[in-house]
């Protein structure tokens, strides 16, 4: 019996030795060799020059949306979980949430270009991708019009749609200025989301805050930073006259009726007076092309109470 075990031990060592040796030697095999790179360089150049059809992976809903608007969606081979709009984008392979990207997962889609929002993470992930030899592009993603312009231009350049970029920017600017001309109500408002069973309200520094301001509303949470938890008591003090709730939250709660019935929100003037509106999730998270649409909708909805 003992002899047999000894022989198994030795056999497994004999199997193990070449593997261990190979693993130990392989880094040097790639790092040093001068003669080998011939074929290696040819292949890498091929990967970077995008000889065939371009394969683009888009990370961030605000980027994906632009690629579709530019009509470059046929180059897309993968998106992230936040790419909810347009609906077709959800059919593409998803690499998961864009703040927690799997390097190998992104690389496995064999992209010739990865376009990512500047918020993509975890930190260092884009550098890691670039070091693999995957061409990457980080684009500006702040809640300002300038950042959006910049984003449209860099994405357009990357997918060779420069001409469409200026058209798109013009369309956006026109739509936004038209929406801004609609009467503003100046009501006290608040954007709420449900996360982990708790109601959170959007304070300053969030996209939702910008949307409220553009829509001519007065964010009652604007003195607090980012998303903060809400209680019935804090809401009775802030007394919002308009409540905007994200579409994802409405879906998760099983309808607008359930939102209005929730103990935290139900006593607010907004619910009492029936001024609860639904905002698309992507609009609440990223400052995108459909901002004018949201601004126009909110302003029109509240036009009857607007002060001229």
């Amino acid at each position: 019996m003992a002899m047999w075990w000894k022989s198994v031990w030795w056999k497994s060592m004999i199997i193990a030795a070449p593997v261990i040796l190979a693993i130990m030697l392989s880094p040097s095999a790639v790092a040093q060799d001068a003669p080998i790179p011939d074929r290696m360089m040819r292949l890498s150049a091929g990967a970077q020059q995008t000889v065939g059809t371009p394969r683009v992976v888009s990370l961030g809903g605000s980027v994906t949306e632009i690629i579709y608007a530019l009509g470059a969606e046929r180059q897309l081979v993968g998106v992230d979980q936040s790419s909810l709009y347009p609906l077709q984008a959800q059919q593409l392979p998803s690499v998961g949430y864009y703040r927690r990207l799997p390097v190998e997962g992104v690389a496995s889609l064999r992209p010739t270009l990865v376009i990512a929002s500047e918020h993509a993470g975890p930190s260092g992930v884009m550098e890691k991708l670039a070091s693999l030899g995957v061409p990457t592009l980080k684009v500006s993603d702040q809640p300002t019009v300038e950042s959006l312009h910049q984003r449209i231009r860099s994405v357009a350049a990357a997918v060779s749609r420069e001409n469409q970029a200026e058209v798109l920017i013009q369309q956006f600017d026109d739509a936004l200025s038209r929406a801004r001309e609609l009467p503003a109500s100046g009501l006290r408002a608040m954007t709420v989301v449900m996360r982990g069973g708790k109601w959170l309200g959007a304070g300053h520094g969030t996209v939702a805050d910008v949307v409220l301001r553009e829509a001519g509303l007065n964010n009652v949470m604007s003195d607090q930073a980012s998303y903060q938890p809400l209680t019935p008591e804090s809401l009775s003090v802030m007394a919002p006259e308009v409540i905007i709730v994200t579409s994802g939250t409405v879906q998760a709660m099983g309808g607008l009726r359930a939102v209005k019935a929730s103990p935290v929100l139900r006593a607010t003037p907004a619910v009492q007076q029936g001024r609860v509106m639904v905002l698309d999730d992507l609009l609440a998270q990223g400052f995108g092309l459909r901002l004018p649409e949201a601004v126009r909708d909110i302003r029109q909805e509240l036009a009857h109470v607007a002060k001229p």
């Binding site: 031990w9 890498s44 997962g105 496995s108 890691k128």
Partner: protein
Amino acid sequence: MSPSHSKAWRFPDRRMEWSGLTWLSACLLIAVVWASISGAYDIRVLDIASWILGAPMDVVSANVMLNIRLPRVVLGVVAGAALGVSGAVMQSLFRNPLAEPGLVGLSAGASLGAVMAIVMTGGGAFLIGGFAFIGALGATLLAYYLGRSSHNSAGLLLAGIAINVVVGSAMGLMIIQANDAQLRDLTFWNMGSLAASDWSLLLWLAPWTVMLGCLLVTQWRELNALLLGEREAFHLGFHLRRLRWRLIVLVALIVAPVVAVTGGIGFVGLVVPHLVRLWRGADHRWVLPSSAIAGALALTLADWLGRTIMAPTELPIGLVTSLIGGPFFIWLLLRGKRSSLS
């Protein structure tokens, strides 16, 4: 003398269990090779084989292999070994089958230390490691002294819950200052991940873990004596107070940097030593090294599952280990009366 006769006269526990270790090592080796050659990024096995023998491979594949997949597999082995062996030591030291870095609050303490280092000082691997160690040590000592007063599992579990609550609220205080993005990052961090691995990290983490692991394995006599009871161990001539301190510090030293790097990976330290004991008995000469190897095996497989099952997306590894470990934990509680340790 026939083999069966000689076997009858041998104390099975008095000899090193080489056969078990051989099996485990062979399985680990196969798992490591398997985890290295399969993943979301499709590389043909033949290509890898010829690449190892010197043939060229395209740059992206080679880089994925060398700089993404291999460091990750190695970190899985290192972290799994650390969690496995420290779980085995804690279960014997606390004389409690439920002791585990996660349950008694050690991992939470280390996480708090790491987060505090990030928030207050801006980070740096050295500082994060140091803070994580202090947090881990504090939490373990607290669990030990709180849990010692009662002689069954309940005391330790309650202590662990208390520590996890205190640490959780301290983390909550930090989280309130974090913005929305950091908040979501933290949620994911709590689920654990091996993705942060790279060679520069492993260069110190691997030797560190191996060194401390070897030190822990040399403590098998003391731990075997502790199995008899604290008083018995004392009468056998072991200096209990010093022994306790030594073991707690060693465990905190080996687990803290791993938790700081990987986030919370639960249940490996709990489940693995139990399986190992069920298989070949409770002699620590066997339990300690085999827990390390089996822990490495478990984490390598869990990470491989997490990487590939939903490719190109990844499941957090902590989610995989708790999905498998949770039901095991329930089973453990159900058979608790018959457990050899409680």
